[in-house]
Amino acid sequence: MKAERVVRGCFALSLAASVGLSLVYLAGGSRAWEGVLLAAALGGIAVGFILWATRLIDAPDNVEERREQKPGEGLGLISEVLEQSVTGVSRRKVLAGLASGAAASLGAALAIPSLSLGPQPGRSLFRTLWVPGIPAVDSEGGRVRPEDVPLSGIITVFPQGSEGAGDSQAVLLRVAPDLLSLPEARASWAPQGCLAYSKICTHAGCPVGLYRAQARELLCPCHQSTFDVLTGAAPVFGPAVRPLPQLPLAVDEDGYLVAQGDFSGPVGPSFWNVTQ
């Protein structure tokens, strides 16, 4: 009897909470109260039903026999019925082969249009929008002079006219030129110690947005790949293997930074023919 009273109380509580929930909604709503009252309304029903099942009902344990699944018996019947489809056919295999062939090629023909979901990748993975002489601009479109680049921070730059372009973003930073130990061929790529690297991590494509100015390392926050900016962004820690592609920079006659050409390699995460 006591349990029955509790169950009645639970359902009554749920009822009251539901009314309250409607009132809260009509009064303008509140995330917390909506959640609490909804929980109370559902919780009352929950406790009520669970107690009902476990305390009020005297449900005895029943025993049910499992039907023994005799292999072959039922199966035989089904296959007999299926066999009816080929009674009166002389060359079953040919017929079945042709029918499934027709179905398969129809399926393929219908699946082919899914190719219009996206373009052929082609060489687009190897190219960006940087071309010789194009000015490097920040996200607002403003041109950048070497002396604008802070020694302890980074600027994200784009080819002029394509601000925000995903694959062409580059991180621009400046170090003292005598610290640099770039490969021979890149000696002229860093005017006044200004370095530009692709901002897309060569591991999983996250923007390499953290710069440890003391250690002169770029850090990708996604998987902690770390790149040494002094040696051409060679990876020093983490799962990345390829260095960040470097953007060859130059200073034009007005003293602004421009690109000498495209990045030193394909930007972004590796793919099977990335080295070709």
Binding site: A40, I45, A53, E64, Q120, G166, C222, H223, W272
Partner: protein, 635 residues
């Protein structure tokens, strides 16, 4: 109303049978139901969200009430989620319930799968349903991933970007697949609408179809059950669907919804206004995905910088941890019923569940797998841990690289050892019911067996005392391992004192049984399996062997064997009588009744067992070893 439907559809007998259908009653069987209820809640709240969401990447200016973002250029999708969160009444609570329900959905699916794994419920004939369930887990992961990418915020954009990198890393086909999936090179504008149609139509549709199949197969095959008195491979013992199971399930459904509503109302989740809209040039740090993706993130973090180029084909460093590892892991999981069948050579049907200790190898493998998952998940938060502990993130990564290889095998070996010890300890959770264990003394009285030698005898409650039995003493993993470490299941009753008969020093019951779970069940079934240590492979042979035909030679031999051992050790089954708490032998067929007073010879002349055998073909002596111990034939 019911009569109306009945008369139209003629469901009378089917309905009555369905309502009486028996389901075994155990808390661990409700975990799968929680997953089902989460899915229902997801469909309900998701429908509400769909009414306000716009799957559109077009750039708009945010002009809502959230000050810090006002005037920013955001996508229409992000804008609609902001509007849903701040302007639509009850919108935020619905969105948060939806997200919490998604997390709990995957979690309960995984826990349900672990229950099925550790108890061996996937074995024949349930391999099909394991595959169906596994496919639903894959769909759940897909639903989760597509769902949390929809708001088009900075965090979800990072997830998509990593997904793109994983796709493109597949040798040869990668760039094509990635381009087709995303409609070009990341970031693209079409991806939001594609994710939307996957999230609200294709994946849920498939899930509903498979859910139906899952339940239909379950209904058809009948539920598995744990071992216990009266339970066998050929029956189901439990409570009927109506009213007990139905009301209980309704209660659990409401409880699931209530907890999710409380969390949705009070615990913030995925605050996209703090992350801001997606921007291809920024990333939030630290950034962690939803919990079920964390292990893959962890795996990519731990993977060494290794990107070999073989014959001009580069294997990107994303490919192994983000594509191959989950591919292999999930393949093994999906095919596990078939792998185990191959390993154990056990092709028999199983409807009685194992206790995790009964199969130490399987349990150890499962524990190792879970630990591997756990280490990788923690590694997915290595930057957070490093931040909290104030140490270098590199040290954390190195630590986890080591832990990934050390923790799973050590944990698995530990689990194996614990299972073996538990198995040999005779402290099987199924054997420790409420009450005391009794056996016949040589004088024909009853005595209590001290708890430490729980043999193949029987369990009877004494004095009607209701012994509190925690759900955890029954066969699930942690309880299973912790069980024997806890106090006696019947506190308050001093050990070694029964209410009937006088305590005697325990008889030697022979070697510990080879497998306590099976042995205990056999004891309940009246078989003497746990008295003798079976030969290696005995269990397996037993499982494959069919029950001998009644009256056949094998059947005869079995009977003889059983009776002999029964007499030798004075086995007796008893059950409680009414409310008085006394004991009486259970009603048995005459020919199986024990006659303790004449158990050495049959001089009493009324031994029905002896009569049964008379006139039958004599049993070969010495052929089976065991038969030699036949008390009837001793001089």
């Amino acid at each position: 109303m019911i009569r109306y439907v009945e008369s139209r559809l003629g469901l009378d007998s089917w309905g009555r049978r369905a309502l009486r259908k028996v389901f075994p009653d155990h808390w661990s069987f409700l975990i799968g139901e929680i997953a089902l209820f989460c899915f229902i809640i997801l469909v309900a709240t998701g429908t509400f969200l769909t009414l306000f969401y716009r799957p559109d990447a077009a750039v708009v200016t945010y002009e809502g009430p959230y000050e810090p973002l006002r005037g920013q250029e955001v996508s229409a999708a992000f804008d609609s989620v902001m509007r849903l969160s701040f302007e639509v009444r009850a919108g935020l609570v619905m969105r948060q319930i939806h997200h919490w329900a998604a997390l709990v959905f995957v979690a309960s699916t995984v826990v349900h799968m672990c229950r099925v794994f550790f108890t061996g419920a996937f074995r024949r004939p349930r391999e099909l349903n394991w595959i169906v369930g596994f496919t639903m887990l894959m769909l759940a992961l897909g639903l989760g991933f597509t769902g949390y990418s929809l708001p088009d915020d900075l965090l979800s954009g990072t997830g998509l970007r990593i997904g793109y990198s994983a796709l493109i890393s597949i040798p040869f086909a990668g760039p094509y697949i990635a381009s087709l999936a995303f409609g070009g090179e990341f970031p693209t504008e079409n991806v939001i609408s594609r994710l939307f149609v996957l999230h609200v139509m294709l994946l849920p549709g498939l899930t509903i179809a498979l859910l139906g199949a899952h339940l239909a197969i379950l209904w058809r095959q009948k539920h598995t059950q744990y071992r216990g008195p009266g339970r066998s491979e050929s029956n189901v013992v439990g409570k009927g669907l109506w009213p007990y199971q139905a009301l209980l399930s309704l209660g659990v459904m409401a409880l699931t919804a209530a907890v999710l509503a409380l969390m949705g109302g009070l615990v913030q989740i995925n605050p996209i206004w703090l992350y801001g809209p997606f921007d291809a040039t920024t990333v939030s740090a630290p950034s962690q995905p939803d919990w079920y993706m964390g292990w893959l993130d962890g795996a990519t973090r731990l993977f060494p910088p290794w990107e070999p180029t073989v014959f001009g084909v580069t294997i990107p460093s994303m490919f192994l941890p983000a594509v191959l590892l989950p591919g292999l892991f999930f393949t093994v999981v999906a095919l596990w019923p078939f792998i185990e069948r191959r390993l154990t050579n056990d092709a028999a049907e199983h409807h009685l569940l194992d206790s995790p200790r009964d199969e130490p190898g399987r349990t150890a493998l499962g524990v190792a797998g879970l630990l591997f998952f756990t280490v990788l998940t923690l590694a997915g938060g290595n930057d957070l841990i490093a931040l909290t502990l104030d140490i270098q993130v590199e040290s954390m990564t190195r630590f986890f690289r080591l832990a990934m290889f050390v923790v799973p095998p050590v944990g698995g070996a530990l689990a194996y050892r614990i299972c073996r010890q538990l198995r040999d300890s005779r402290e099987h959770p199924l054997g420790r019911g409420s009450g005391v264990v009794l056996r016949r003394t040589e004088q024909g009285g009853l005595e209590e067996v001290p708890p430490s030698v729980t043999g193949p005898i029987f369990i009877a409650p004494v004095d009607g005392a209701k012994c509190p039995r925690s759900a955890f003493t029954y066969a699930f993993l942690w309880a299973d391992i912790l069980g024997p470490l806890l106090a006696s299941p019947c506190p308050g009753r001093p050990p070694g004192r029964g209410s009937i008969g006088r305590p005697l020093p325990p008889l030697d019951l022979g070697q510990p049984s080879h497998r306590t779970g099976h042995a205990q069940q056999k004891a309940w079934d009246g078989e003497p399996a746990s008295i003798d240590r079976p030969q290696p492979g005995y269990e397996r042979r037993q499982r494959r062997r069919r029950r001998p035909r009644r009256g056949s030679r094998q059947d005869l031999r079995r009977q003889l064997e059983r009776r002999a051992l029964g007499f030798r050790f004075g086995l007796l089954e008893a059950e409680q009588t009414g409310g008085a708490g006394g004991l009486r032998p259970p009603p048995r067929q005459g020919r199986r009744r024990h006659h303790p007073h004449c158990h050495r010879n049959h001089e009493c002349g009324q031994h029905p067992g002896a009569g049964d055998l008379r006139g039958e073909k004599p049993v070969e002596r010495g052929s089976g070893g065991r038969i030699e111990r036949n008390a009837h034939e001793q001089p």
